[in-house]
């Protein structure tokens, strides 16, 4: 194979498509997953407003969604992409399945971060007359910010690896290049270039998340 201008152009486009698929669906998945994660903690038996039956139902639904393998979810959800985005192929169509797959995962990641909070701090806020909303906005989320950022790095890198499956549905991104050009057309070099770039992206996101978390953590002297 030749590493000509058009190949370079293709890889550039691939990087951009991977980045936008990952970040746009991460953002949308957080819009759904963050409140869900908060809700899971709040309505738990020992939460600030226990609603055990809802907690149970929510838990089952989240587990159900999480147990469907992404590749299968992708094909199930594509008709929905057609409905929402207007197409079932290409990178934009990937946003819908990625968001649906990532939201329950993010809900669990957020839940486990929020569980790290010291119950005594919540009790102190209650003793000052804080309402449940105030506890969520002024205690739970800000106090858990470092852990939420570590969780976000984890979530975004997972979504990035999911996005690599776009190649199967005619979507774009580095994963598609690795599968379509690298594997099906037997261009191993191109496949490795894509994989290395994916690795670099994961490293950057992970490192950025950890640094942000540490930088903002006031528990570190």
């Amino acid at each position: 194979m030749t590493f000509d201008a058009s190949t370079v152009e293709m890889i550039k486009t691939g990087i951009w498509e991977t980045v936008y698929m990952t970040f746009l669906s991460s953002f949308l998945a957080y819009v759904i997953g963050l409140p869900l994660g908060v809700l899971l903690v709040v309505i738990d038996e020992d939460g600030i407003r226990p609603v055990p039956w809802l907690h149970k139902i929510l838990g089952v639904v989240i587990n159900l969604l999480r147990s469907v393998p992404f590749l299968i979810l992708l094909f199930i959800v594509l008709p929905l992409s057609k409905l929402i985005i207007g197409t079932r192929i290409g990178s934009p169509a990937m946003i819908v399945p990625l968001t649906i797959a990532a939201a329950p995962y993010i809900a669990r990641v957020v839940e486990s971060s929020l569980r790290e909070i010291d119950a005594g701090v919540i009790e102190a806020a209650k003793s000052m007359g804080a309402s449940n909303w105030q506890i969520i906005w002024k205690v739970l989320l800000p106090e858990c910010r470092p852990s939420l950022l570590v969780g976000a790095a984890l979530a975004v890198t997972t979504i990035l690896s999911y996005s690599a499956m776009a190649g199967f549905t005619g979507g774009g991104g580095l994963g598609a290049i690795a599968i379509n050009n690298g594997y099906y057309r037997n261009e191993p070099f191109l496949m490795w270039v894509s994989v290395v770039l994916l690795v670099v992206l994961v490293q950057i996101i992970q490192e950025a998340g950890m640094r942000l978390s540490r930088l903002g953590d006031k528990r570190i002297r």
Partner: protein
């Protein structure tokens, strides 16, 4: 006597656990008066922490009621209860400061919750930090503070809303003795200068002794005794009262056939209470069998035979004490006596 600020009426609390119902409190009746420092003491598990949480309805009692300034908390809506809670500051054993906020923002927190304008809140917070002696730490984060400093911040925070009552849940139990003293002094000062009623939950009699005017002893979910501290200290009426107050002082030592020691007084200062010091330092009684000492120009001369407790470790403690303070002694047998 002044008006009761808090009246606890026939209060009971049950917890449902997987292993059945646990009764944490039963038939509690207490009046706490405006401006006093009231102690609630009990062994761990007696129910005192639950009781203090029922006072501000952090825990909702399963029976009875709490009246704050004559108003029943049981008949209030949750919003009204939250409002009432702001008149009761609370401090905790583990301080419970917000780790991601600096000191001044921690003190501002309760004011932020009730919508006090930011500027006003900051000014009030600085004033309170001055009261607790931490104004130069305003920008520090909790992790940079010592335990005592954290509790001072917590006290400033509890005072932010001008409360009428401060509830202290084992507020000094995580602190060393010197820090405990200074925190207690601060609470007393706040009580006297601001007229804030203080309710102290503790398992340490020394805390009650040093600042409380009245005390309730709580044992096995019930109030065992209530009264002025001096009354209860001089004459505890219940078994638990005696146990808490006298504690190790009623230490039963068995003498039987234990070792006897001759202590020789060879001219130490006669003003030095040798045996009392020994008992206090070793925290064990000794049995005086024989004594012949004289005061010669301020020097103690003579000898004394004391019997040590049968317990080996306690006897050893007495030996090493005698050695460290360099009092000559020798072990004696039955025959020598």
């Amino acid at each position: 006597m002044k008006q009761p600020i808090i009246q606890i009426r026939n209060l009971g609390k049950e917890f449902k656990t997987s292993s059945g119902t646990v009764r944490a409190l039963e038939g509690i009746n207490l009046d706490i008066y405006q401006g006093e420092i009231f102690g609630i003491i009990g062994l761990s598990g007696a129910g005192k922490s639950t009781l203090v949480r029922c006072i501000n309805y952090l825990e909702v009692p399963t029976e009875g009621d709490v009246l704050f300034e004559g108003e029943s908390l049981a008949s209030m809506t949750p919003a009204q209860q939250r409002k009432t809670r702001r008149s009761m500051g609370m401090i905790f054993q583990q301080f419970n400061l917000l780790a991601q906020r600096n000191v001044i923002r921690n003190v501002c927190f309760p004011m932020e919750l009730s919508g006090v304008p930011k500027k006003e809140a900051r000014a009030r917070a600085m004033e309170l930090l001055k009261t607790v002696g931490l104004e130069e730490k305003a920008k520090a984060y909790p992790v940079q503070l010592s335990g005592g400093q954290k509790q001072r911040v917590a006290i400033a925070r509890a005072l932010a809303m001008n409360p009428k009552v401060i509830l202290c849940d084992e507020a000094t139990s995580a602190l060393d003795p010197n820090t405990t003293k200074s925190i207690l002094a601060l609470l007393k000062e706040i009580n006297q200068k601001m007229g804030v009623t203080v309710i102290m939950i503790t398992h340490e009699m020394s805390v009650i002794e040093s600042i409380c005017s009245r005390v309730a002893i709580i044992d096995q979910s019930r109030i065992a005794e209530v009264g002025s501290v001096s009354e209860i200290f001089s004459e505890p009426k219940t078994r638990i009262g005696r146990q808490l107050i006298l504690g190790d002082a009623i230490h039963q030592a068995n003498f039987g056939k234990s070792k006897k020691v001759r202590i020789i007084f060879d001219g130490r200062e006669s003003e030095e209470p040798v045996i009392s010091n020994l008992v206090l330092a070793c925290r064990t009684p000794v049995n005086i069998l024989y004594a012949a000492t004289r005061d010669l120009d301020g020097k103690a001369m003579g000898q004394m035979i004391i019997q040590l407790p049968e317990d080996e470790t306690e006897a050893r403690r007495v030996y090493s004490y005698l050695k460290t303070v360099k009092i000559p002694f020798e072990e004696v047998t039955e025959y020598d006596v």
